[in-house]
């Protein structure tokens, strides 16, 4: 029998995940037995309570310097896992609020949505604190399974079904690549534990062998699929467009955080052989930033526009990954890796607030027979719905990286990390493509403020409180943390 203190320590490490899982089970079972699909408001309420309790436990977990682990070193208890966990829980709260409104207005109000959301959130949190490639894979699958079903949640709509099947097939493909990569890396290093892999790699001398190179390549492809990096991004616009808007918002946040937390860990562990994968990441970052932004310019569907924008943001985040291995610059120890991790985490927070906020505005405007997603649907919004329109304006300015919003602070931090880590080329491409992005973000603002609406006034949706609350929370965060970024660091315990 394992030592009692070990068991308690292990359980404490996964307490937030246990809370989420228990909440999901309570909702699923309660909905079929206790409140018998009658009281619909209880499901999102329970879900939010569950997430908040998980948040409390996560924040209360003692902050230990990196190095502490649980479950025989397969889970890391470190700031990266905890802070990405907080970002995931924030995503969940906003998504539940959005779903509350969206599902009700679209006649999709089933408890299973919240169950799937909470369960996939558990997977994402596991992924964010995985210290072992197998646990990382497990978390990724738990995350993805929930997302596949949520993408097809509007079962009667062909678009939604298409999105679900497309996401499932390509996601399964990506998972297979990742698994093959894990197998090859295991073959080359005799371990799936990330710490162990790092130790093995730094003690071995000479160029990495072909097996390790192939393994790293497959890991990049597999994670690239999940994080929507060009050229593995083809599924993104279609899935984002077809999935119910509330599900798209959750997917955009949770999948991105999970994938990038995992990338920070995996490539952090692969730092000793950085020379072999850094060029690939640099090229992918440039291609992703350029194509993500270029393709977004021509979009007339806001969901597709945000999909391409999320690809572009993945490119900016890759710049942070590329700055990870710069542990020494010109022979002097550099703090670029810490800056990169901190910058990426801050950027993920910014990304969550502005992207979920922007999707939230679409959710806010959607009603039973009218799923708002075309740019033209936003015409004259500033007059019809001033609150939503001005919030949307802040999200667009933030996505474009204009001060004093959070998007600017995030970009600035990654930019700074890239310059410190001597990734000058990437920093330049990042600045140029960000300037390009401002065009299509501001076009949405233009349409909202300066074009007249052509359609008759739409009937008022049944419920909008949840979406309004989410929009206001996101807008407040975008502005407050944009002006005072240290506040976020203080709340999450992030930063140096």
């Amino acid at each position: 029998m394992p030592d009692k203190s070990v068991i308690i320590g292990d359980m404490q490490a996964i307490l937030p995940m246990i809370v989420l899982w228990v909440t999901a089970s309570v909702i699923a079972l309660g909905d079929v037995s206790l409140w018998k699909r009658g009281n619909k408001a209880i499901n999102p309420l329970l879900a939010i309570v569950g997430v908040l309790v998980a948040f409390k436990f996560l924040v209360n977990t003692p902050r230990v310097a990196s190095g502490a682990t649980a479950f025989a070193k397969s889970l890391a208890i470190d700031p990266l896992g905890q802070i990405s966990g907080i970002a995931l829980l924030v995503t969940a709260v906003l998504s539940i609020l959005l779903a509350w409104t969206y599902l009700k207005n679209r006649g999709l109000d089933h408890a299973e949505y919240y169950v799937l959301l909470l369960l996939s959130l558990t997977g994402a949190m596991m992924m964010a604190s995985a210290n072992d490639l197998i646990v990382l894979f497990l978390g990724l699958e738990i995350l993805s399974f929930g997302l596949y079903v949520m993408a097809g949640f509007a079962r009667t709509e062909e678009r939604s079904e298409e999105a679900s099947v497309k996401y499932f097939l390509l996601g399964a493909f990506g998972s297979a690549f990742l698994l093959y990569g894990i197998a090859l890396v295991y073959g080359a290093t005799q371990s799936t534990n990330l710490e162990q892999i790092r130790a093995t790699l730094s003690s071995s001398s000479g160029a990495p062998g072909p097996m390790l190179l192939a393994g790293i390549g497959l890991l990049i492809v597999g994670l690239g699929f999940k994080a929507a990096i060009v050229p593995f991004h083809q599924w993104t616009p279609d899935v984002y467009e077809g999935a119910p808007t509330a599900a798209t918002a959750y997917m955009a946040g949770a999948a991105k955080i999970g994938a990038f937390a995992a990338m920070l860990r995996v490539f952090g562990a692969l730092t000793p052989v950085a020379a072999s994968w850094l060029p690939a990441i640099q090229i992918l970052a440039i291609v992703t930033m350029v194509f993500g932004n270029l393709l977004a310019v021509t979009q007339t569907n806001v969901k597709r526009l945000l999909a391409y924008s999320s690809i572009a943001h993945a490119g900016y985040l890759l710049v942070a990954i590329a700055a990870l291995p710069s542990e020494t610059v010109n022979g002097i120890a550099s703090n670029a890796p810490d800056l990169a991790v901190g910058g990426a985490l801050f950027y993920l927070f910014a990304y969550v607030f502005m992207t979920l906020g922007a999707f939230g505005v679409l959710v806010y405007l959607s009603s039973k027979g009218r799923d708002v997603q075309h740019v033209n649907d936003l015409r004259g919004l500033a007059k019809r719905e001033p609150a939503a329109a001005y919030a949307m304006m802040f999200f667009m300015l933030s996505l474009g990286g204009i001060p004093p919003t959070m998007g600017f602070m995030g970009k600035w931090q990654i930019f700074y990390a890239a310059v410190t880590g001597q990734q000058i080329m990437l920093a330049i491409v990042m600045a140029l493509t960000s300037a390009m992005a401002v065009y299509y973000y501001l076009r949405v603002v233009w349409v909202m403020c300066f074009e007249e609406t052509t359609e008759a006034a739409a009937p008022e949706p049944v419920a909008r409180t949840g979406a309004m609350a989410a929009i206001m929370l996101a807008a407040a965060a975008t502005i407050v943390f944009g002006i005072a970024p240290n506040l976020l660091n203080a709340i999450t315990g992030m930063g140096p």
Binding site: M1, P2, S25, A28, L29, V32
Partner: protein, 118 residues
């Protein structure tokens, strides 16, 4: 290293050879009496009706899923039953949690009428 692969190669050759040689011997020894009935799909005796390329009731998949869940449970219960004397109370609690999770899933499926045939 190469000896290890040699073992695999020999094993593969024997496996393929076994099938080929046996089919060849059978061909020499057996009488040949072609009959159109022999080309029919075998369905436990009854004549096949219609094409197999059709939509099946989605309930089949639900049954299959539930079946797999309990198959996996059984697969985990055997090693547990062998080891639990050494591990003690910890193992009992752990298995109880595991079975409870599966039972909750079954209960949910039951209440959602997943195992009722309509």
């Amino acid at each position: 290293m190469s000896e290890l692969y040699l073992t695999f190669a020999v094993f593969g050759a024997v496996a393929v050879g076994f099938v080929c040689v046996n089919l060849f011997i059978a061909r020499l020894a057996r009488p040949s009496a072609p009959n159109p009935d022999k080309l029919e799909t075998y369905e436990c005796g009854p004549l096949p009706v219609g094409e197999a390329w059709q939509q099946f009731n989605v309930h089949y998949y639900l049954f299959a899923l539930l079946f797999v869940v309990f198959e996996v449970e059984a697969a985990f219960l055997y090693p547990w039953a062998v080891a639990y004397k050494q591990v003690g109370r910890y193992a009992v609690v752990e298995m109880l949690i595991f079975v409870a999770i599966l039972a909750a899933g079954l209960g949910y499926a039951w209440r959602r009428k997943a195992i009722e045939w309509e």
